[in-house]
Each structure stands twice: as C-alpha cells, then as structure tokens.
Amino acid sequence: MAPRAPASLRRRLLIQLIALSAVLAVALYVAVRLGAERASEATLDSILGAATTAIAEELRSVEGGTELDLSPGTFSMLSAVGEERIFHRLDISGVAVTGYADLPLPPRPPSTLEPVFYDAPYRDTDLRLAAVARSLMIENRPAPVLVIMGQTRDGQRAIAQSLANRAAALGLAVFLVAVPLSLLAAGSLMRPIANLAEAVGRRGGHDLRPVRHPAPTELKPLVEQLNAFIARLRQTLAQTETFIAEAAHHIRTPLATLKSEAEMALMQAGDEPTRARLRGMIRATEESARSAGQLLDHATVLFRADQRAQERVDPGAMVAALVERFGPTADLKDMELRLDLPAAPLETLGDAVLIEAAMRNLIDNAVKYSPDDSSVQITLAAEGGFARLDVRDRGRGLGGETQAVLERRFHRGANVAGVVGSGLGLTIVAETAVAMGGRFALTEREGGGTCATLWLPLSG
C-alpha cells in the first residue's frame, strides 16, 4: 500500500484549532454547570442545616412533654430560598412525634447538632434532607431527639439548569468565534508557505535561477536545499554542454583530416577500384561528422529549450542571413534560393540560437534533398499573430511517410538514399517549434517536393 499523502496543512491546522475550541466550549459548559450546582447546593445546604439546627435548639422540655417554639424567622429563612416545599419530622427516642413520620431517615444517624445532609426520594419528588440530633431531658431522663428537615430542590435545579444553559450558550459562542479565528489563524500561518509555493510553481520546471522569494525561517532549509540542487543541476548541464562541444571538436578535427587526405588521394588515384573505396571513405567520414554535429545540435536545442530565453528576434533578418550563407552551397548544385520577406520587419520573442537552428535545418534539408538546377522558395509572412516561414522545395517529398514519423529521432525517410543525413534535422525543428510556442508542418507539394512550414509567435 502506498503511504498516505499527508492532508493539507491548512486543513490539519484548521481541524485541530476547531477541535480544540470545541473541547474548550464543552469544558466551559461542564465547569459552569457543575460549579453553579455546587455553589447553589452549598448555599441551600447551609440554610437548610442552619434551620434544622435552629429548630433542634429551640426544643424545650416542658411539663408533660416537649415544646417546640418555632420562631417565624426559622421558616422565613427557608421560604426565602424560593418556592420550595418543606417537610419536617421530629423523633424522640426513636418515635416520630410530629411532622411527616415517613420522611426518610439519614443513612448515617447524626450524633450532634452538626447536620448530616442526604438526598432521598420522597413521595413524588426528590428531597434534600438535613438531620441533627440532640439530647433532651424529658421527665428527668435524657431522651435522644432527631430533627429532620426536607426541602425540595426544584427551583434550585431550574436555576442551575438555566445557568448551565447560559454556559452552553457561552461555550457555543466561544466555539463560533473560534471557527473564524481559526480560519484566520490558519490562513495567516499558511500565507507565507502558499506564497512561496506559488512563487516556485510559477517559475515552471525550466527556470534554473535560484529561488529568491522570502521564506519563513522554518522553510529556509528547504529553500536552501532547493537552491543547492538547482545550482548543481545548472553546473551539470553546463558541464555537459562544454563536454559535448569538446567531444565534437575531438571527433571532428581528425575526421576533417581524414576527409581532406582522402580527397587528396582521390585526386591522385588513377584506378577505379581505389577511387570507389576512397569515395566510400569520404562518405562515411561525412556521415559520422554530420551525426556528431546533429547530435550536438540536438543536445544544445534540448538544453536551451529548457532555458526559455526571451530575446527579440527579427526572423526576416535571420532567414536572410541564412539564405545568404547557403548561397554558395546551393550554387554548387546550380540551385537557386528565392527569398520573399514581408514589407515590414517582424519580431518574435525567443531564443535566437534555437530559431536559427530550426531555420537552418529547414533550408539545409531543402538544399540537400533538392535536385540540381532546381529552386527553393523561402517565404516569410505574418499570419494571425505568427511569423510563418515556408520552405518549398522540388525535392523527393515525404516518400509516403507522416510528419510524426519523420520527426522521430534518428528516423530518416525511406527515400533518402544517397544523401548524407542523421535523422535529427526535423526533430530539432519540431522541438524548437514546441519550445517557442509555435508549430511545424510538413506537406507534399503539388508537382513534387515538400513544403515545410514553421510558425513562430509574434511578440506584442
């Protein structure tokens, strides 16, 4: 199983912040509710206890029994607490003498005036009860007296509930405020990261300049590593380019000597078999030299396509210079190069070296594959935001092959016998067209030959 990709940092942070605020809100609710209950219970208990103790203290032994002298203060103390019902029970020597004889007894009987509190169900309600004990001299004998006061707690519960509800509302409010705050916090925390990611993303994979975007301290090591990596890549690429150029030099110089010597030998050789061999040698030399050259060109095109240079290039001036350069070569075959340029100069943005390589390969192909005494028509014109270069020859045409096949590396058409080539020329043109945001098309001409068209985007 593939390791699960970590979810978005922003989402994680947001979820954690929201979960934390939810926990805090719940804790607040619980704390307020418990606190309120305890506080009101403690207050009510102390009142209930005080009343119970007061009643017990007010018991007096009189002739023929006991007398309870209930002061109005005692009950008013209890009634002040709210709409609670009050129950009482008085036991003397274990016998209920007054009040509600069925009022539940305390689980642990009190022994002093210190009240014992307990909860118990009574009839249709739950009661909070307090019990105290004392001893009373009745008929000169000490008799144990137990005073129990019971009080409903409906009002208190209602108050506690309403307090808890308020606490819940407060908790919810805290939570609701926390959500947008979390969003804000997550956003502000993520912004530098997002900015950096966007800055790196915008560069694309072809920009080999170091990342200069300000990074938060935590991300500095990452950016530093990225820059170190980019620098290493640049260096490797530069070394590769130099190496290829050096290698080409070391291959081509001896080849040039070989070819030159073979040409000399051919001039002096008399017998036909020797001459045929020498011609074969010269051809092989040319073939290897051309392959080496085109391989280098191709590597350079790939390397430069990655650099995405943006210089202003006048395609008209460039193609005119190329046509002039190919003049002597075409002349050797008595060929004519005809050039039509637009009245106003055009301007494209791109890598001059790449554009030159593409145009040169197109003209080179046309000259190479055209018969003697033919002419090549080269036309540059503006067409819908593009500079359109047509190179029309009267050569061998496409030989029934498709453009896609001919553009393949090292693939040469089936009809190229007798012409030295590497199979990289059209690959270079096609790759340049893609790198420059243009297009390349090959079509058969009516009456024989090929029309190669290269579109390059015009600037502005």
Partner: protein
C-alpha cells in the same frame, strides 16, 4: 591571393594548404595565435582561415581583437565545435563566414570566393586561353571580350579544364570537381554539363574535345 591559415592540426593544415596551393593561392600556415600575430605583422593577407580551438587561446578572441583593431581582412572560421550557439557568436564577432569541419573542399573554395567577391576583392588572377578569359573569383567568362553567363557547375568545369589546357581529364576527375562525394552522380552527368559548357563558349577559339574512352580536354584551334 594570399591566405593565412590558422590551424593547429598539422595534418589538416598540410592538406588544406596543398589544396589551396593547387588552386594557385599562396598559403601561410600559423599553428597558434602568437604565430598568427607574427604573420599578420609581417605581411598582408587577402583572407584568413581561422580555427576556433587553438593551443594558446580561443579563435573567437583573436577574431574580436582583429575586428577591434579595425583590420578588415575577411575571416572564415573553420570550427569543429559546431555548437549552435558558437555559430551565431562567430558571425556576431565579425567572421565573414564559417565552415564546420569536416568540410568539402569545393565548399571551402566556394565560400572563399563568395567572401572575397563580397569584400570587393580584385580580379587578380585572370586566366585566359585563346580569346577566352576567366575570372575565377568573380565567375566572369568572356569570349572575344563578350561576356557569357555561366552557371556555377559550368564555371567549375571550365576552371578544371583550364587548369590543364590540352591535357585529358577523365570523367571521374571532372566528377570529383563538380559533385560532392556524398551525392549520387549518374553516368551521363558529366556529359550533360560538358554539352552545356560547349554551348556557352560556342563561337570562341577554345573548345572542348571528347577523347573517346579517356575523357575531355580543352584546346585552342
């Protein structure tokens, strides 16, 4: 014409020199940039053939210094590097043309001529036979003072025949001068060009004789 060849590969230099000598040019060879500076100080040259990779420096630096010193001797760069960027650089630095090694000798010759012609080189080594004159640099042919319009291959055929008047040149020898070794040449290609040339120089005293089974020769008669 006097050429300065700046090339550190001795074998290549020797063979280029031999070929240019055969063309009737005087060629001095410098194997390094220092050597080249000495030669340039001592003599005037019509054309410089410059290698890029030299033992004591980069040919492009030499080119830049050469142009900065307002020296206008045309320069053709012979490069084995052939990096696409090098070609553009080279022309930007003021080279008149460049050739990538290995090159066809015919192409070197054609480019030398094109550069010299462009730079307005004098019609120095005019060749003549009977009432025919030939200026190899300008590619002008006259018969009894009347200009004839010859195409490139016809010119080169005439040049080959003129280089050894009266001597028989085989079809193969002529083929080597006219066609690149890498192009397929049909058997009757030479006959076609000989026929064309004959027509172009008709009416003059020089004519092309066919020596059956051996080849052709240029005679006056």
């Amino acid at each position: 014409m006097r050429f300065l060849l700046i090339e550190d590969n001795a074998d290549l230099a020797r063979s280029i020199r031999t070929r240019l000598d055969l063309e009737g040019h005087a060629v001095d060879h410098a194997a390094s940039l220092a050597d080249a500076a000495d030669h340039l100080a001592a003599a005037h040259y019509d054309l410089i053939l410059l290698d890029i990779t030299l033992p004591d420096g980069d040919g492009r630096q030499f080119l830049a210094r050469h142009r900065a010193g307002h020296a206008d001797t045309p320069v053709i760069v012979l490069t084995a590097r052939s990096a696409v960027s090098d070609r553009v650089d080279t022309l930007d630095l003021g080279a008149d043309d460049y050739l990538t090694k290995p090159f066809d000798f015919a192409e070197l010759q054609a480019r030398c001529r094109a550069v010299l012609r462009r730079r307005g080189g004098a019609a120095s080594n005019l060749q003549s036979l009977g009432d025919l004159t030939f200026d190899p640099l300008g590619g002008c042919v006259t018969i009894a003072g009347e200009a004839r319009d010859l195409r490139n291959r016809e010119l080169r055929l005439l040049e080959a025949l003129l280089s050894a008047p009266g001597r028989i040149l085989s079809k193969d020898q002529l083929c080597d001068r006219l066609f690149s070794y890498s192009e397929p040449v049909s058997d009757n290609a030479i006959e076609v060009y000989v026929a064309r040339l004959r027509k172009k120089i008709e009416g003059g005293s020089a004519r092309i004789e066919t020596v059956r089974g051996l080849g052709y020769r240029l005679t006056v008669g």
